[in-house]
C-alpha cells in the first residue's frame, strides 16, 4: 500500500460529520503491563497483558455555530452521554480493508476549549471508550 498524506479523513461524532472542524486524530490502545517476573538467571522482567485502556484524541477548530464542534461536543460532556465515534482515512471512499473505520461508543470526560490571541482557536478532545466493545477498526459497514 502507498504511504498516505492525511487530507481526506472522516471524523464523525454522534452521527455528525465534524471532519472539516478537525485537523488531527490520534488513537491509543494500551494493555496494562502486569509484572509477573520471578527470580531467573538472566534477570529479565516478564509481563502479561492486563486490562485495556483505549481513547482517541482529536484536535478541533473552535467553532460555535449550530451543529458545529462546540454544540456537538459540549452537551455530550455536560450530560455524560455515551455516543458513537467513527474515524476513517478517506471520507470519499466506503469502509473497506484499505479504508478501515475506527468505531466505538465513547465519552468525553474532560472538555477544555481555549484560545490564544491571534491564533486559530484549536483544542484537543479525548474520547474515552465507554463500553466493553471498546474502540476497534472495522473493515465493512455493520
Amino acid at each position: 500500500m502507498p504511504k498516505r498524506i492525511a487530507l481526506k479523513d472522516s471524523v464523525e461524532v454522534d452521527s455528525v460529520d465534524l471532519s472539516n472542524f478537525a485537523r488531527s486524530v490520534a488513537f491509543s490502545s494500551e494493555h496494562a503491563r502486569i509484572d509477573v517476573s520471578g527470580f531467573n538467571a538472566t534477570g529479565t522482567d516478564e509481563f502479561l497483558a492486563g486490562s485495556t485502556t483505549q481513547s482517541v484524541t482529536v484536535e478541533f477548530f473552535g467553532s460555535y455555530g449550530s451543529g458545529e464542534a462546540h454544540q456537538t461536543l459540549y452537551p455530550i460532556h455536560k450530560d455524560r452521554e455515551v455516543v458513537a465515534f467513527a474515524w476513517r482515512p478517506d471520507q470519499t471512499a466506503a469502509v473497506s480493508a484499505t479504508n478501515p473505520s475506527l468505531e466505538g461508543n465513547v465519552q468525553i470526560l474532560t472538555y477544555a476549549p481555549g484560545a490564544t490571541r491571534g491564533d486559530a482557536e484549536t483544542y484537543s478532545v479525548e474520547f474515552t471508550a465507554a463500553d466493553e466493545a471498546g474502540l476497534a477498526f472495522v473493515t465493512s459497514v455493520g
Binding site: 452521527s15 455528525v16 460529520d17 472542524f21 449550530s66 451543529g67 456537538t72 455516543v83
Partner: protein, 58 residues
C-alpha cells in the same frame, strides 16, 4: 419510519445538509441531534404502539 431533514451545516449519518432521509433513530440520538440543530423531523409515521393507543381511545 421517520422522515428527517438535515438542517445543520455538516452531514448527518452521511446525509448532506438539506437532504431528507428516512430512519428510526434512537430517541437519545434524535434528541441530541434536534437540540443542536443537526436535524428536524419532517414526518413521523405512527408506530404500532400509537395505533394501539388510538384504538383504545376510540
Amino acid at each position: 419510519m421517520t422522515l428527517y431533514k438535515v438542517t445543520g451545516p455538516t452531514a448527518f449519518r452521511g446525509h448532506r445538509p438539506g437532504e431528507e432521509f428516512e430512519a428510526e433513530l434512537e430517541p437519545d440520538l434524535e434528541r441530541r441531534a434536534k437540540a443542536r440543530g443537526s436535524i428536524r423531523v419532517v414526518r413521523r409515521e405512527p408506530t404500532k404502539t400509537d395505533e394501539k393507543e388510538d384504538q383504545v381511545d376510540a
